[in-house]
Amino acid sequence: MPDDLKSPDDKAAEKIRCDACPVMCYIADGKSGACDRYANHAGELVRLDPLTVIQSGAQAVAFLDQGENAQDWDGDVIQGSRTFVTAVGAGTTYPDYKPAPFIVSQEVEGVDMVTVVTEGIFSYCGVKVKIDTDRHIGEERAIVRVDGEAIGHVMTAEYGSKMLSLGGVEHLTGGSKKEGRVTCDALLRLCNREAVEMVIDDGVTMIVQAGHAPIINGVTEKLMRVGCGSATIGMFAKQWHGHVDEVVVVDDHITGVLTEHEAGKGLEMSPSGIKINGRRSTPGRYFQVAEPGTGWGGTNVEDPLTILKPADPKVARPGMRLLMISTTGEQWAYYILDEDLVPRKAEITPPLLAVAERIAENCEPSLCSVLFMGGAGGSLRAGVTENPVRLTRSVKDALTYVSCGGAEAYVWPGGGITVMVDVMDMPTNSFGYVPTPALVAPIEFTLRREDYGTLGGHVNHIQPVATVIRKDNRRVAPNASQPDPQDSRNYRWTKGAK
């Protein structure tokens, strides 16, 4: 976690008294003081600050405490540790809309780097949400609603995950006023890592929160499957061998049957005569064994025997041992065939239980991931340069590095500057909104000073980094998973090209 915020669990709902200035406000939990700069976050006084600074090195930078004037500061900022000014809290209108609020320069490894810091108003923006679950949440293309308003839809699924595409200009400004407002509010909360309850047409009710497991129809998802049913057979066949005569791994996509599967044949297992509903794709792999749902392996199955057809009497024999298990190992059932070849529930044996637990152990925790996606429009780029298209070219040419709140932004190929960034890599509460409605998100462009001049940048407005840093800036530690925006390796010019 890049911030030093306390976990929400140790909540002290008490009012606290702020000692940041002589007013000494009492501040209730979740509220801010008269200045709107300090707030009570679960009993802890935190800054909600104009500008967030990512600071390298463990040691805090010492400022002159009596600083009557910013110019009096000793400049140790740069020598002591490198500081990257993020756009969180930079403000689009204060003190100036154009050019971008802060254009700061700093000498990094002998190269004079310029970072243009702004908070962009994004009407063209949304989030892509990856929800690690095999459960059926709704059909692809189904509408996702919050407060009854359409905010996006279910898109094509990915490995072990369902995907949502939310927001975008059509929901923000193309529909009714309420639709726009609700969409903007839902995006804001998702981006600021808050929980949002959404309902999918003909699907589930779901609570999505970045960095947390999804809660689907009131049930918190635990695990992401280790693989499809067929893959699970392949991975665990050897461990089952000798302990069981047949294993069926129930999966909404590809249900696996051990003795028919290549892995079972490789172990020279004999066919069991167990027959499966659904469409056989290749030996031991079945599609559509049931309807999608929130039961076993993302199907609607509650009783796994419902996917079996009567066993083949020419092959099956009484006393055969059958294991049925889901792709996450969370559900399993063990059976022994009776005289009529009907599976009867029996107590599972320790070796089989151990494999079930191992499957569960190999499943990763289910998470919701929220990626903010937005396009830097002409007016935002105009805050950086007098010739906005040159900024786009500079980004494409890898002369300009784009980050959002200091986190690496993926820049889409093609026209414009359309970026995508994981909100978990950004400082908390990096996002705001305007009633237009549109999201306000931080975006920084970092490049060499000479390149900034070439692309028509507002070079007259460059300020040394020390002059924009104030002692009341919010400071966050660098996020170890993110590249340093000022690292020369981010730029084409270190690779020999000019």
Partner: protein, 283 residues
């Protein structure tokens, strides 16, 4: 505890900040002397107010001792309504006090002190002050030009867009008055009056639950405004307009512009191009 700080902003403007006070100052004239005077006056201003804070947060009554506190008291006195406290004029009064210190210290043809939207003006000769009025989302709503010959020396804006609590639903109410302190309290009270009492889409909370030591105590402040029909919006604006016209008739203000959800009302601002009923669009 952090003390007052000062920074020069682009455009030769001085930014002074201490606690909840942010001033942006511009002058035409002896800038160095003016800024030095502003900084010197600002150094103690918050401490002066804090010594009488308890009195200033109570209903307007006994006169306080401090100079800025006295300015607040005098500005609020004509508006005595059983709710308002001298704090309704704090921002304008601070701006006015710092402006006065600069004007006394240096020959200036023009100066302004902007305290978070509450602005104190100094104008001489042919100097003018052009004010852009923006909706809370930054949409340009028009310009107001003030010349040295006009009586206006204070401009204040209040409403949901600001950081003070409001009893009303106005997005912004901009008031022009003879002083910043008078403009400040008037803007606060007109913004409070833009309201639809009992409307289900308006969420209200006790001021003390939002800010435990708010001078609005147990009064219900607006924390969220839901959907309003055009006629409801107009009704709310008309309530505010009635109060503004009443203040103008009593000579307490020179003019006011009220904004809510794309609707507006204007009184006493001849020669301005504040848009009327203009639909807000994204810039």
């Amino acid at each position: 505890m952090s003390g007052p700080c000062a920074v020069i902003l682009p455009g030769d403007r001085l930014h002074l900040q201490h606690g909840p006070i942010d001033l942006v100052i511009g002058v035409t004239g002896d800038r160095r002397a003016a800024f030095a005077a502003a900084q010197a006056r600002f150094a103690t201003i918050l401490d002066e107010l804090v010594t009488e804070l308890a009195l200033l947060r109570r209903l307007v009554g006994d006169a306080p001792l401090g100079a800025v506190a006295g300015m607040m008291h005098r500005a609020v006195l004509p508006h005595k309504d059983g709710i308002v406290t001298p704090m309704a004029a704090v921002a304008g009064s601070v701006a006015q006090a710092v402006l006065a210190a600069m004007v006394a210290a240096a020959p200036l043809s023009r100066a302004y002190v902007n305290n978070g939207g509450d602005i104190a003006l100094h104008l001489t000769g042919t100097e003018t002050f052009r004010l852009a009025v923006a909706a809370p989302d930054g949409t340009d709503l028009g310009r107001i030009a003030i010349g040295a010959g006009d009586p206006v020396r204070g401009i204040a804006t209040s409403g949901q867009g600001g950081r003070s609590l409001s009893l009303g639903i106005a997005e912004a109410v901009t008031v022009l008055a003879r002083s910043a302190a008078e403009a400040d309290v008037a803007a606060t009270l007109i913004a409070n009056a833009v309201d639809l009492p009992g409307h289900p889409a308006i969420r209200r909370e006790k001021a003390s639950d939002v800010q435990p030591d708010s001078d609005l105590r147990e009064h219900l402040v607006v924390t969220r405004v839901g959907a309003l029909s055009t006629s409801e919006r107009d009704a709310a604006l008309d309530r505010g307009l009635a109060m503004a016209q009443n203040m103008a008739a009593r000579g307490l203000i020179e003019g006011a512009a009220l904004f809510l959800r794309g609707g507006s009302r204007v009184t006493g601002l001849p020669g301005t191009d504040i848009s009327k009923g203009k639909t807000l669009t994204h810039a």
